[in-house]
Homo-oligomer: 417 residues x 2
């Protein structure tokens, strides 16, 4: 069997551990140079493949590749670029396969969420039709934890650990202040459609913290919400609120869309957190503080979950191993065998069943009143945030790696995106 | 010499390490029961003294007191309650001294910022006049780092480490995304008058990150700022902005005050970060993300600076030792002997020179263009964020302590605040 080259790309919003998957892919490929001659990475994701802007990963030192394991963000660059359907833009898919052919690429490892699983699946199908079959393996990644079949997605455990820890810390803070000052703390977290990240904030209730959680899965009811907050403040003197960015009114409008305009008629600038905080202030008069974690949560490699890092690496490694075993159009998955003690192993799912399916919080993970989580959810979440995996530090700051990213010589003409 | 009791209280906004100072005070007092019979803490700060709501710290286990060292927030509760001047409200000071007298308190340890240094000083003066002299020692605490004489304030190093790390991580994130998506990331940090925290974000420039920092010490110039951001994006493809909440226009208005009104005429809800982000978007068209760290930054014990924790403890310990040596109306300070290697020792300052003095960033710590920091500033900052001091974890979350806070029996009648 002759060696082929491999292509790897990062897709969509990056995470604290997507580079750990890259590390797993590259280190494993380097152990099989008889089958995988070289591994090229797409500069800025799939755009790098379309424009033939490939990075020669063999030019990176082994220690740089190893350091990807503890470096957040996308080391090769990512992109938000969804390939259209085959019918709408067959040209793009054909270009991909043309580039892969020109660089003798036989393996396609695509590290992303639902959209990229779909792209990956189509590349596999079309390449076969075009007589240049490519084994396409999808490596799951998303902080939103919304991919089906896999028990969880690499990237989620670390953001969950960060949000749970931050909610705990800020709640201790407001508890200290509530006698004369702040009584309400609101933290806005990611999750436009699924409330997995918000659920992690709700874990602090187990430590006696009064917390009200607002999920995108539950329609917002202002009166009921205010009553819930008031009850917590009456009992505890303070309350924390974790609001998902996707929390919305019954008519579908996000809380963040208040129709607010500034003097120039520009739309309101804030997010859901200030809206919720001001709503409580007006109704109940509590002094508040609010935070919007935004990129801080998904980039917080300094507080990564050890199980998340291990799974991110393991799925990258498994992707290469599955490819070498001849698998195609699949995604390695996390299969949970036991929650306590936490036991998991790597499985696989056909991409035909992964692409374009979103996994929401099951209703039995959300408490009856809609503002907390159930024991089923706790049992699910705790293993995913378990363990610490600290990066090395230098002069007080994490020592993250920046790759050289040496370009591969082009063999084709330019391509218009 | 007969033993007296001691009183300890936490004041103002809490920090990641104020409890480490409490730990230093209490553990040291416990070693000197021949001189300090018992140590009472104010429930919710000085309010606990005024209302005679004292906590008996002898009822806390040694391991709970030890755990204060790694627990953020104010373990005994804090408050925002500034005593008026002696002339305006002598009644409050007299009540304090009455309570101290009733509970045989000879030592007053007050853990806070500039206002509490002032209170501490007055208690010392007045108690002497009233014939019940109390040794009053101020233990410095403030994330704002704005106290004079001491090289730095406990609480600052940890928030600086958190902001520098978060800026680094989020900048790596936006760097990954900038080819097709987000080009601007704006992080809002604390610091209403002094830009010390914002300066910590500027440290990431040393790692090649394009960052524009907005200090409260520098009047905001919109055109110049936009040009600075545009130049960074032109060169690097992206830019991070660290904006101090105290950043303001030449007329003194904070950036966050945009005069924005919602449909009901309510004032704008957001902070400085969304204002800055939208300003750039309108002028330059860049897609942006923004975060407001708020309490997350000052509560982030999970990422505390080791030197900060050590200093917080050491100054608490020194406060007790100075008191036992007969000192009065002083504040233990950090004295820097060398930056590289970092060598510091404990010194002391008279409260008469500390009270009501604010320390701003020196102009030679801010780069000429006003958007970055100088080598002097770097040399100052790096030692303060050096070293890690992780809390213990259980089930994936930091294991912070909640004290029992058993009340001391009251001996006096009620007091109206």
């Amino acid at each position: 069997m002759t060696a082929k080259n491999a292509f790897y790309a990062q897709s969509g919003g990056v995470t604290a551990v997507i580079n750990a998957s890259a590390c797993g892919v590259i280190e494993t490929a380097r152990q099989h140079t008889d089958r995988i001659a070289n591994l090229y990475a797409g500069r800025n994701g799939i755009i790098g493949a379309l424009t033939e802007d490939l990075i020669d990963t063999s030019r990176e030192l082994a220690e740089s590749i190893a350091a990807l394991r503890h470096t957040p963000s996308g080391g090769f660059g990512s992109c938000r670029y969804k390939l259209k359907s085959l019918d709408a833009n067959k040209r793009e898919y054909e270009r991909l396969i043309e580039v892969f052919k020109a660089h003798d690429i036989g393996y396609f490892f695509y590290n992303g969420g639902g959209d990229s699983a779909d792209t990956c699946y189509k590349v596999s199908q079309l390449s076969e039709k075009m007589g240049a079959p490519i084994q396409a393996i999808h490596v799951p990644k998303t902080v939103d934890n919304d991919l089906p079949i896999t028990d969880n997605c690499p990237g989620f455990g670390s953001v969950a650990k960060y949000i749970a820890t931050s909610t705990l810390e800020a709640s201790f803070d407001v508890r200290s202040m509530c006698a004369t000052s702040t009584k309400l703390f609101v933290l806005e977290v990611m999750g436009r459609h699924a409330g997995w990240i918000a659920a992690a904030g709700a874990l602090v209730a187990d430590q006696g913290i009064p917390v009200v959680t607002l999920f995108p899965e539950i329609e917002f009811d202002q009166d009921k919400f205010l009553a819930a907050v008031e009850a917590k403040v009456e009992e505890h003197g303070y309350c924390s609120v974790v609001v998902s960015e996707g929390c919305h009114w019954p008519d579908g409008r996000f809380l963040a869309e208040q129709g607010t305009r500034d003097a120039f008629g520009h739309a309101q600038l804030g997010g859901a957190a200030p809206v919720v905080a001001n709503m409580v202030k007006e109704a109940l008069g509590y002094k508040f503080h609010w935070a919007v974690a935004d990129y801080l949560q998904r980039a917080a490699r300094h507080l990564a979950s050890k199980s998340d890092v291990e799974q991110a690496y393991a799925l990258g490694k498994a992707a290469v191993e599955y490819a070498l075993q001849g698998h195609n159009a699949i995604m390695p998955t996390v299969v949970r065998r036991s929650s306590d003690p936490y036991v998991w192993e790597v499985g696989q799912a056909p991409l035909s069943e992964v692409a374009n399916v979103e996994k929401f919080m099951p209703r039995d993970f959300i408490s009856e009143d809609g503002y907390g989580i159930t024991d089923n959810c706790r049992e699910y979440l705790y293993p995913l945030i378990s363990g610490e995996d600290y990066p090395p530090y230098q002069k007080g700051l994490p020592r993250y790696v920046t790759l050289k990213k040496v370009a591969v010589s082009k063999k084709l003409g330019p391509f218009e995106l």
